[in-house]
């Protein structure tokens, strides 16, 4: 596998650190006027999700990781595993609950998503930025209140709970921003 020198490393690159695949978050060049040059490299461990900072001597190199993102479709959950299929190759992948982590709150069967693969095995899944989901449970709001002020919790078909305006009713479809779990708009069927 190729490797990157500290001078080439940029945010987003995938590297191997302590035998784990990691994504670079930030690379800061540190050099006292008369001192030695270092790079403070911040990275996210793609298995644990933890963000760690580590200092390298400038000029050191870090092994590249065979990590790729592919477009896939979420198929179903069998009770213990979540199943996905790559749209291009029809290859199927499965992940356990820890691997899908919070993404499971936004995954609806047949929806598109992005799988991160390391050496061909899935590491994690990211839902689309915006998803359309049905409200399965929410208190009846005050009809005619279209101001959007206030709001109430609403449970969605995937189990996620988001804050919606009072006029939004049970059974309706809404558009949600999965990056912060915020309500965007009501959607007609």
């Amino acid at each position: 596998m190729a490797s990157y020198s500290t001078s080439e490393i940029r945010g987003g690159m995938k590297v191997m650190i302590d035998n784990d695949p990691c994504a670079i978050v930030d690379n800061e060049f540190v050099k006292p006027g008369k001192g030695q040059a270092f790079n403070r490299i911040k990275y996210r461990n793609l298995k644990s999700g933890r963000v760690v900072e580590r200092t390298y001597k400038s000029g050191d190199s870090i092994e590249a990781a065979d990590v790729t993102d592919i477009e896939a479709q979420y198929l179903y959950n069998d009770g213990s595993h979540w199943h996905f299929m790559c749209g291009d190759t029809f290859e199927q992948y499965q992940m356990d609950e820890a691997q899908v982590s919070d993404s499971k709150l936004w995954l609806k069967e047949q929806d598109k998503c992005v799988l991160t693969l390391w050496n061909g095995s899935p590491l994690g899944v990211a839902p689309q930025n915006f998803v359309i989901l049905k409200i399965t449970e929410t208190d009846p709001g005050v009809r005619g209140d279209t101001s959007g002020g206030g709001g109430k919790p609403a449970k969605l078909e995937t189990g996620a709970v988001v804050r919606v305006p009072l006029f939004v009713q049970q059974g309706e479809l809404i558009k949600v921003d999965t990056r912060d779990g915020s309500y965007v708009a009501r959607v007609k069927e």
Binding site: F29, P32, T55, K57
Partner: protein, 317 residues
């Protein structure tokens, strides 16, 4: 790729104003503005400062000569002092090979000045006056290099062993990938990672009396422990300037250069010819003086709260 300036016009106006303020400050104090060559046949031998080489070829000649873009105007300015210039200052471009980052540009603007009959504390007083004028943040705090370490991480930088330094770095959460077998590298790591972030944010901090292993071109005082009469200036945790009570002894200076070349050789770095003009000037006699170099781009970053040095130069690298 954009052809547009990396600095706003507001920033360029502030830059022009600061340059005018600096020139006025020195003019009122009868310090002479000088210019010295940026291109020279020699350069610093420091193993951790690399010069950018430039090839010179006389028109019609086949002979190529390697010149170096200067990393600071120090040697030439000291030759002026030895020739009897009296107090001098210079605002010039300086060049450092390989240095690019949030606070680094390979080409940057330096303010360097020398004061005969000043020790490093006298020069810190003058630096304080200048910074109060341009930053308007009140008097600087002064802290010895040893006190900064003892107060923040509880070790004495003049005595701590390699093992104690590496343990201290680990204890303070510095995760280092590389093997480091050099005391000064550990001191630099602890200073940049653990101590600089704790410096006061509302006024500049002057750090003085460095370990003798980091004397560079400063005099060493044979106290207990011996220390180098060197100081650095920080504001908001950013290194702004470095000054010395200047070494006058040409034999000692030659030994330091030779030691640098020995270290460069060990690090597989190309040798740099020793500046014999500079050593000859020291032999002739450099007046007792102190000198300091300040990074004007970083000063401007701090005045303008810029996040990257590219924002304060018209066209960033």
């Amino acid at each position: 790729m954009s052809w547009k300036p990396t600095a706003s016009f507001k920033t360029l106006h502030t830059r022009a104003k600061i340059l005018a303020q600096v020139r006025d400050f020195f003019s009122k104090r009868n310090v002479l503005e000088v210019q010295t060559p940026l291109l020279s046949s020699t350069s610093v031998t420091d193993p951790y400062i690399q010069s950018i080489p430039a090839i010179f070829q006389k028109t019609g000649s086949q002979i190529q000569e390697t010149l170096y873009l200067q990393t600071s105007p120090e040697y030439a300015m000291k030759r002026l002092l030895a020739a009897g210039s009296g107090p001098i200052f210079q605002i010039c471009k300086a060049f450092r090979q390989g240095e690019v980052g949030t606070f680094h540009q390979p080409e940057f603007t330096m303010l360097e000045w020398y004061r005969p009959d000043f020790n490093h504390h006298d020069l810190m007083n003058e630096m304080d006056d200048l910074l109060q004028l341009v930053l308007n943040k009140g008097k600087a705090e002064r802290l010895s290099y040893a006190a900064a370490f003892v107060n923040t991480v509880g070790i004495n930088p003049h005595f701590a062993s390699l093992e104690e330094l590496s343990f201290c770095a680990k204890k303070n959460g510095i995760l280092v990938n590389s093997t480091i077998t050099d005391r000064d590298a550990w001191l630099d790591l602890i200073l940049t990672h653990c101590i600089e972030p704790h410096f006061a944010n509302n006024h500049p901090v002057f750090l003085y009396d460095f370990p003798i292993s980091q004397a560079a071109l400063a005099k060493i005082r044979n106290e207990d422990p011996p220390v180098a009469s060197r100081f650095e200036v920080y504001y908001k945790g950013i290194e702004l300037a470095n000054g010395f009570h200047e070494l006058q002894d040409s034999d000692e200076q030659r030994r330091r250069f030779e030691n640098n070349l020995h270290q460069r050789n060990k690090l597989d770095l190309s040798p740099i010819p020793i500046d014999e003009h500079f050593l000859a000037a020291l032999s002739h006699g450099l007046p007792d003086c102190s000198g300091v170099a300040l990074g004007l781009d970083r000063l401007l970053m701090l005045i303008l709260s810029a996040e990257n040095i590219r924002e304060v130069v018209s066209f960033g690298f």
